[in-house]
Subunit: 248 residues, 2 copies
């Protein structure tokens, strides 16, 4: 059996009791830290009380067959940052394993997809998520800006995840968004979600000096806000009073 | 301090090591089971090795002040199904506490919002989420159908959560959706996510006899699918070959 187990959003202590138990019972435990990252991965062996081998991107993609073959013979757990099914790499691995007749179990973990509501923004008001990627050569992708505009067309917030290779911070993401034609609009910068979370709401142009430890992400607000969302953003994320302009 | 800690998606073993530790160190531990439910709540005291008091809706809403006052004096943990910030009740409680100068910590938990990708549907392709509620008298709300249509306008999938009071199952949700004018379209019925998950993909009208233990939810597919999504749905959720019609 192949078990894909989420470590959760921030650090290894976000792992579930279920994931811990699965690791303790498994024949082999692997971990990967390239689809996202969590803190304390170097403490995994100590927490689990057993050996953990790290997998590279190619182990999980081009050479996935090797893992699937191993899982056909014995119980293999792969620990994954966040929730395992968010990364398409893991869906593809699940597909490959099931097609080979190998049973796959998924143990879920906490993820920025719901944790973003720590801002006070309502879960039901989020539209599509997009990633802001580093430019390929001089080409800045307009993809995340197009997703924001699609979401605006249905008055939805946009969660923007930032590239991890290398790790992008909010100020860099904002420059790329502006280069891709993004309008200046209200946004929330977030760092270290699930840990000592830091949040700041303002117009994008005013978030250019946002700094914070840990992974960064960004929410571009919908065209309008519920008054409770605005109140939360003022209390949790030091939003300016001008935010009231967009309360419906 | 007030700690809002997610139990996670399916059962008490989905709780994180961080939540367990917070409960063990707290002066008082409460739990609520009305915004959602997880299995094994009756085993919480045994797992935590301490007393857990259950809170009612009114304890957390009209009478939230009492909890906030207690958290001003000592460390209080409230255990919550799923991820705590998804329910607006908990955002409001966080707001009330922070306004009263009480520090609030959030420990995230796994949630259907990302776990839904266990279907093989891609996280980036989901639009707004909606809840299918029981009718008030004879009035069937058109809200979820409107959300599906908004999401179709940007070619996004729709996660539909089902009412919990009393617990709605997929066949009941489908009848309500059709009454509200929903078109017959491809969907995925899901039960027991995070546990012994069961998934079935077909046209809505053909999912009327879907049954499965645990909480149910439903995804209405976008207008088109990525070919990997279709392949996953055929492998994981027994989708019909006709699904290829909507592969882009």
């Amino acid at each position: 059996m192949l078990t894909l187990a989420g470590i959760g959003i921030h650090d290894v202590m976000d792992m579930s009791l279920k994931a811990l138990e699965a690791c303790r019972r498994a024949d082999a435990v692997y971990a990967e830290a390239y689809t996202s990252r969590v803190e304390g991965m170097d403490r995994l062996e100590e927490i689990l009380g057993r050996e953990v081998k790290f997998l590279s991107r190619s182990d999980l993609e081009e050479n996935a067959k090797k893992i699937v073959e191993e899982a056909a013979k014995r119980d293999v757990v792969i620990l994954v940052p966040g929730d395992p099914m968010v990364a398409t790499t893991h869906s593809s691995l699940k597909l490959e394993a099931e097609k080979a007749g190998v049973k796959v179990r998924v143990i879920h973990g906490s993820s920025i997809s719901s944790a973003v509501c720590v801002t006070g923004l309502q879960f039901y008001r989020f539209g599509k998520t997009a990633t802001v990627s580093w430019p390929l050569g001089s080409v800045v992708s307009s993809y995340p800006v197009n997703v924001v505009r699609s979401n605006w067309s249905i008055n939805a917030h946009t969660l923007l995840l930032l590239d991890l290779n290398p790790e992008m911070k909010v100020p860099e993401a904002i420059e790329l968004l502006f280069k891709a034609g993004m309008e200046d609009w209200y946004a929330v910068a977030i760092s270290d979600a699930g840990g000592n979370v830091k949040m700041k709401c303002d117009m994008l142009s005013k978030l250019r000096d946002f700094s914070g430890k840990g992974l960064h992400s960004l929410v571009i607000l919908a065209r309008t806000l519920h008054f409770i969302e605005a109140e939360c953003l003022k209390t949790f994320a030091d939003a300016p009073d001008s935010l009231d302009e967009i309360v419906e």
